[in-house]
Point group: C2
Chain length 119, copies 2
Amino acid sequence: MNEELNNEDIQIVDEEKVSRVRETLPNDELIFDLAELFKVFGDSTRMKIICALLEEELCVGDIACITNSTASAISHQLRVLKQSKLVKYRKEGKTVYYSLDDDHVKQIFEKGREHIEEI
Amino acid sequence: MNEELNNEDIQIVDEEKVSRVRETLPNDELIFDLAELFKVFGDSTRMKIICALLEEELCVGDIACITNSTASAISHQLRVLKQSKLVKYRKEGKTVYYSLDDDHVKQIFEKGREHIEEI
DNA sequence: TGAATATATGAACAATTATTCAAATATTCA
DNA sequence: TGAATATTTGAATAATTGTTCATATATTCA
């Protein structure tokens, strides 16, 4: 029996191991959300913004200046960071001040740095 | 003085704050490397591979089966994970077993999960 | 109100990248 | 050696995405 399950597309796998590991996987939504979160950290411009905000609250113009970028490019990227709840903002007149939303950003950043620096 | 520094392209910024924060920024290479590292976490397929390997060492075929992907696609992605020193491997006959290279992977994963789950 | 400043936004373009498919290696075993 | 299995690799395609540019919105102040 079970012959009909085999064809040239199906590999010979450790069925027991496969189903065991499969059950431990987080659901697809969490996997997707995690990938989306890390994607946000996966760009040099955004990483620079994060590094700058690790120091202190900054407005768009100052971030643009610090990162040698344009206010428009920074604004686009801050939007991405905002959507991922990595930064929050407050308005003061014409100026919008951004800051990191919670301590996870710093923790994720530090873990990444540890990995890089220990290679 | 200093008039010649101003034109329509230069914003009015907090010079003191800008240079202070600029000096605290990691160098461009570290920023780039960090972004490259997180980019690797920023893909659902690779995130699934990482989740599976958090459980135990697995061969390419089993990972493909667990993640509902092809061995070729998984092999391509394992190459990316290998280049970032996130996974290591050992050969046993025809089979290549992959596992996570160090504990940072788990720590980064957990910090990401915490952020997601606390929103 | 109108000018000046700060930020945001939408469309377009260029660049990056994940998957697929076909083919190449590598290894075991009859 | 030759067939079978496991993995890798390279090229091509399709989709995603970061920046730019022009423009829009919001706010202050004379």
